[in-house]
Structures are given as C-alpha cells and as structure tokens.
C-alpha cells in the first residue's frame, strides 16, 4: 500500500486481494446456518468451482460438492445439537471454500461441547491413521454394527469426507470458555498425500493456520461475509440469495440488498477484468456489523486514470444534502438524452441516499499495476 490506510476494512480488502492469484478465490460465510442459507452457499461455491474447472475435472468438482454438503450438514447438526441458539449467536458457525492454484480448501467451523472434544478427536485420529482399504473396512463396520445416532452420526460423515477427498482430515480445537470449544475441520482436494512438502509455501493463506487467522480477523471486525474472487451477475445473485436467507432482520436485509446490488453491479460493469480470465471482474466484498450499523465494503481494480473521475463523483454526492440529492435523482431519472459518461449517475446518487453516512472511498496502487478502488457504505440496523 502506498500509504497505510486508516480504515481497517480497506486495509484487509487490499491485503486479501493482493495475496491470491488471478484465478484463485476465497469465499467465507460466518454466521447462522439454516437449510436455505446452506443451499445458497452450495450454489455459489459450486458455480464458481465449475467456472474454473474443465470437463476433465468433473470428478474433482463432484467431490468438492460432496465435501461441501457433508461439511455444511455437520455445521447444522452441531447447531441443532447445542440446544441453546444463544450460544450460536455468540459463536457463529463458519464455512469457507478457498482455491489456491490447483488446490481447493474446504473448511468448516462450529462449537462443540467441551466434554465431546476427546471423543471427536479420537475419531478423527482413527480415520486419519487408516489407509484407503482400512478406511473402507472401518466404514462398513460402523454401517453394519456401529451405533448410529439419529443424526447419522458415529463419524460416518467424517469417514466419507476422508474417503471422497483422499485427504487427511485437518482439524484444530480452540478453547472458547468453560463450556465450549471451537472445532475447525479442513479438507483439501485433490488429495494432499503427495505434495505435503511444498504446501506451506504456496498455499499458506489457505492452510489451517492461515484460515484460522482469517477467521480471527473476521471475528475482530465482525464480518459475516467475505468474498474475494470474481464479480459477475451470477455471483451477485447468489450473494443476494444468501443475504435474503438470513431472515432475522427483514428491513435491514432489503436495504442491504439494494445497496449491495448497486455496489456490485458497478464493479461488474466498470471493474477492470484481468486478461487471463473470463469469469468476471476480480474484487473483494465484505459484509460486517459494527455497533448498530451494517458495513458494506468493496474493492476492485480500475484503470489508473479512472480514479479522478470516480473521486469527483463521490465528492459530488457526499457534498449534497439528502434533499438536494433527491432532486438530482429526479433530474437524471428524467434525463434520457445525456449519456452516462460525464454526469454522476443514478448508481452513486442512489448509494448516497440509501447509505446512512457519506460514502467512504480510497485508491491504492496495486503491485502488478492498476489501481485498487475501495468503497464503503453503511446502513443502520433496524429489527
């Protein structure tokens, strides 16, 4: 960064963007999981995997899908098991899919009761100690004579995850309080059996430690959604569907959705696209909560010479009263002759009207050329 930003989220967005390759992505959801959200997350993740894998990798794509389903079900099962929802509000679940080079990392996180940790750890260690053949045998054994709980338990899901991925189940327990422990579970595909050695070098931000550190940052900033990847209309619609599924705050949800559509469509339309991908404009998007405000932060590449015009337009809308803005909105609504090129458009005007404070922005030079354009809006949370 040319000049260190004073905005934590801008700094985080910039760092995240810089650290991944041009065909990589990382999508992280932190919060309450229900059937609907789970479904929408799956759609988002699967579509993105499909976009960057070719036909020869259809088995890989299916396996990733399968692992995601198991992982997400794990979270909802744990959520149900822990009877008191308040604990889940306090310690929300986590789902992450990261792509780094040719490798995919799927990580889930959820609380477990402290007295279950040893048992769970024992199971994971048994699974990790078995080779393919023995894992198959163990699977059959549990199926035929194991005690299967009504949640399909007995570690069947874990065994299947290990079998499908061909990967060890990476896990970490992190003590939270005298009742709960946070359980991280990570699967890597394709199988990591052969190249463990170089892993720390290439994929460090996706490793268990890397992911945990990202999760800790998200907790510190109270981010619920972290999107580091490709902006296209399809992903926008998936994100919209995820936001909509968090049904606890209907009014705020509508406002967030409206603002999100404008912010992201602006990127889809004007964001510079890398030459080596046709998936969309690369960028970062965060959804977070600070006090009684929902904060939406986006970052994307623009051409260096676009910064001046954008700054001018943002200053223009920030400098007006809401009443003046509303009149201006009417003017452009009825102005069918002018091309969008010179005037401040409806998008920024609308964002400023809907945001509960002036639009924050920043420009930062990127190491590989181009300018990183950061934008932030805030919406007051009302139940």
């Amino acid at each position: 960064m040319a000049k260190e930003s004073t905005n934590n989220l801008f700094r985080a967005a910039y760092d995240l963007f810089q650290r991944i390759g041009s065909t990589d992505f990382e999508y992280v959801y932190r919060g309450y999981f229900n059937h609907n959200i789970t479904k929408k997350i799956l759609i988002l993740a699967d579509k993105n995997v499909a976009k960057v894998t070719d036909e020869s990798q259809s088995t890989l794509q299916k396996r990733i899908y399968y692992i995601m389903v198991e992982g997400l079900q794990n979270i909802t099962h744990h959520q149900e098991e822990i009877a008191n929802d308040r604990n889940f509000d306090k310690y929300p679940g986590l789902f992450a899919i990261q792509k780094s080079g040719e490798r995919y990392f799927i990580t889930t996180g959820n609380i477990v009761a402290n007295d279950k940790v040893d048992e769970l750890k024992g199971r994971l260690d048994v699974i990790n100690s078995l080779d393919k053949e023995n894992l198959k045998r163990y699977h059959r054994e549990i199926l035929t004579c194991g005690t299967i709980s009504d949640k399909g338990g007995a570690g069947l899901g874990l065994i299947e995850m290990s079998r499908k991925s061909g990967s060890k189940l990476h896990y970490k327990f992190e003590g939270l309080d005298d009742e709960f422990t946070y359980f991280y579970l990570q699967t890597q595909l394709p199988s990591d059996d052969n190249d463990v050695a170089d892993e720390s070098v290439v994929h460090s931000h996706c490793s268990m430690e890397g992911l945990m550190s990202l999760h800790h940052k998200m907790k510190a900033e109270n981010l619920q959604l972290l999107f580091n990847g490709f902006f296209n209309q399809e992903n926008l619609l998936s994100l919209l569907a995820i936001i909509k599924s968090r049904s606890n705050m209907p009014l705020t949800t509508i406002k967030i959705s409206n603002v999100m559509v404008e912010m992201l469509q602006n990127i889809i339309k004007h964001g510079a696209k890398a030459e080596d991908n046709n998936v969309g404009a690369r960028g970062v998007f965060f959804l977070g909560q600070t006090g009684n405000e929902t904060i939406l932060t986006s970052g994307n590449i623009i051409h260096d010479d676009a910064a001046g015009v954008i700054a001018q337009r943002l200053e223009f809308v920030n400098g007006m009263t809401k009443e003046a803005l509303s009149d201006y909105y009417d003017d452009i609504l009825l102005d069918f002759d002018s091309t969008d090129a010179k005037k401040t458009g409806l998008g920024f005007t609308d964002l400023r009207i809907k945001s509960d404070r002036p639009l924050k922005y920043e420009f930062q030079p990127l190491d590989g050329g181009g300018t990183f354009y950061l934008l932030q809006t805030a919406i007051k949370t009302t139940k």
Partner: protein
Amino acid sequence: MEKLILEETEDTPEIILDPEEGKFKISKISVPENALDFYRPVLDWIKQYAEEPNIQTVFDFDLEYVNTASSKQIIQIILLLQKVSEKGDVKVNWYYESIDEDMRALGARYKKLVTVPFDLVEIE
C-alpha cells in the same frame, strides 16, 4: 393487439401485458445487468398499445428489488402510460411491502414526477 408475456428469471421480472384479459403487470425482481436491452421490447409494446388502448388500463407494479438501471426504464414505462391516458383511462398501482421503505420511496418519487393517476399500495 398481441399480448406480451415474459417469464421471470433470476434477475428479470415477470411481465404480463395482456389487453384482452385486461391484465398489465410487472412483478418480482428487476436487477438485470443490461436493463436497456431487457426493457426495449416492453417499451415498444406500450408505445404501440398507446395508439389504441383499452377503455381502461390498470397497470400494476409489484416489485421486490429494482436496480437503478431498471428504475430509469420504469419511469419511461410510466411516462408512456401517461401517453396511453390521452386515449383511455389509466391507473397505476405501485405495490410495496409495508417494511420496504426503499420501494415505497421509489414509488413516491414516480408518483411525484407524473400526472397519471398513481396509487401507492401497501401490502401485508
């Protein structure tokens, strides 16, 4: 006049323009990337309908999400309906969910900008 029916998609609204049934409705979601192209056939249709409209036209907007690009197309639809009102009765209903302040505000904005009878209808 031939009716125009467009089924809803993930990002475009359901559109029913059916003079025979007396049903005119735009509903659900409107957040297309290219609103101009999407609404062109709709605007063309209404332009033609304005030449020889029904005695009465009740036009319903019942939208959940509208991006700004669509909002600019919708004002054109409403202005065309104003033209329709030169030859027939026209009434526009703008439905919005009681909690959706943004959708109410957008409706109120349109109402202010046009002379055609325009009702804001709260639902739920």
